[in-house]
């Protein structure tokens, strides 16, 4: 076996909004099959980091490599290459962001048909398979407004999967959901992790980070304060994260009601 390039490598990533430094030099490597949980307090830069990875935000400094290729790097066909790279890092948003004028299935096949020029029938077959995977085969003709939040987020996951990405990005995928709907989304994500998919998940679901992630990254003030396997991060002996976790779990006494695996 030749050594594989990491799926994603981030080097010295910085991001400022005006005078405000949000990310102060992040280094992070994601190997194939890893499920990386990004945790940290609000304002620690988790979401900005995720948005910089697929360039919904333009980094102020540093570089990101997707499969060894620089994201949004120099050279000809820059914008086309960036679009293709974005497609490879499919994103699931906090607020689902499903297109309201498209049915569930149409949302899922839009990317393959319009961007990848997959023949419509092939895309429909693929889209149906993805909807089945997230347990919504019977909802393909529904418009987003006719679906619950949890169902909408599962359609959004199916939409991301239909792009056949090498990396899945989740930006607080359960934060906008009612507590009783969190579980169904986390279950789908757990299945994806079990399939060996490479994922980066910005999350406040500590049980998910603990049980599903293979690596947890704790951000504080735009810097990686600590990173490692969940056992290391969630160990009570870890002084870097202990305070955050104590404060976090203290607020949320009944930690993650939806999380029943």
């Amino acid at each position: 076996m030749t050594p594989q390039l990491p799926v994603l490598a981030i080097k010295g990533l910085r991001k400022n909004f005006g005078d405000l430094q949000v990310l102060g030099g992040i280094d992070l490597t994601v190997e194939r099959g890893e499920v990386v949980g990004l945790i940290g307090a609000s304002g620690s830069g988790k979401s900005t980091l995720l948005r910089c990875i697929n360039r919904l935000e333009t980094p102020s400094d540093g570089a990101i490599f997707l499969g060894g290729e620089m994201v949004g790097g120099l050279g000809p066909n820059l914008s086309r290459r960036l679009r293709d790279q974005r497609r490879q890092m499919a994103m699931v948003f906090q607020n689902f962001n499903l297109w309201p004028h498209r049915t569930a299935l149409e949302n899922v096949i839009e990317g393959p048909v319009v961007v990848q020029k997959v023949p419509r029938n092939t895309a429909i077959a693929r889209g149906r398979a993805m909807l089945r995977k997230v347990g919504l085969a019977d909802r393909e003709a529904y418009y987003p407004s006719q679906l619950s939040g949890g169902q909408q987020q599962r359609v959004a996951i199916a939409r991301a999967l239909a792009l056949e990405p090498t990396l899945l990005l989740f930006d607080e995928p359960t934060s906008a959901l009612d507590p009783e709907l969190v579980g169904e989304v986390l279950r789908v994500m757990t299945d994806l992790a079990a399939e060996g998919r490479t994922m980066i998940v910005v999350t406040h679901e500590m049980a998910f980070a603990h049980e599903v992630c293979t690596k947890v990254v704790y951000l504080e003030n735009g810097l990686v304060r600590d990173a490692g396997p969940p056992g290391h991060i969630f160990s009570t002996a870890n002084t870097a994260t202990a305070q955050f976790l104590a404060r976090y779990l203290g607020q949320k006494t009944s930690d993650t009601p939806g999380m029943t695996l």
Partner: protein
């Protein structure tokens, strides 16, 4: 109040009114299409990141909106030959000036529509690899258009009515021909009533269509 209405006197001008109606309709269609296209262009220029150009678009919109349409029409009619060395026919001068005038309003309507679209829906498009044209044509455009349909239809109605200004430079539209008929038979009340009824018959179905469409749209997408 014992005015004796006599609509029968108009009967022999039926052909003339029909022709005038044709002119009004063709003027309206030409102005709506050109005005919309220009309005869309203005909106895109205004939202582009090219330096200076957005200000040119804003300046154009502000100036054109501030001038009464009749002034714009007559000004272009007389000044274009002086400034550019060539003029257009009366009909095309009307199309041009009313298109410029309505473009400013269409542009504002389109801009409001585009601004009302949740940024997240655009980001979702970017995240699946769409380019700007896809995002405009498949997400922002359709959603924004549905949202601005009522003011859009109002603007189209204004265009239809504003075509009557063409009569000022002798374009033979409904109102102009009506005035000629009046001069012939001295029955201004009957003529104006007829002209008004024709405009109503032209415009009311549009409003009804817009209402039906809006309801159907809300129902379809469960909004």
């Amino acid at each position: 109040m014992n005015y004796e209405w006599n609509f029968a006197a108009l009967a022999r001008f039926r052909g003339l009114f029909l022709q005038a109606l044709g002119t009004t309709i063709s003027l309206s269609i030409a102005v709506i299409i050109t005005g919309m296209a220009l309005g869309l262009l203005l909106t895109m220029i205004r939202r582009s990141s090219i330096p200076v150009l957005p200000w040119v678009a804003v300046g154009f919109i502000e100036v054109v909106r501030a001038v009464p349409p009749l002034v714009l029409l007559v000004w272009i009619y007389y000044c274009m030959p002086i400034l550019l060395g060539f003029g257009l026919s009366n009909y095309h001068t009307t199309v041009l000036s009313l298109s410029l005038y309505s473009a400013a309003f269409y542009s504002e309507i389109f801009r409001a529509g585009a601004q009302s679209i949740d940024r997240g829906l655009v980001e979702a498009g970017l995240s699946v690899g769409m380019n700007r044209v896809h995002i405009l044509g498949r997400i922002v455009g359709p959603l924004a258009f549905q949202r601005v349909l009522p003011p859009f239809v109002s603007q189209c109605i204004l265009v239809i009515k504003n075509t009557s200004l063409g009569g000022y430079i002798a374009v033979q539209d409904l109102l102009y021909q009506g005035q000629r008929v009046t001069n012939e038979i001295f029955r201004p009340l009957e003529v104006l009533t007829t002209v008004a009824l024709i405009y109503i018959a032209l415009i009311v179905p549009l409003s009804v269509f817009a209402n039906i469409h809006e309801k159907a749209y809300r129902k379809r997408y469960g909004l």
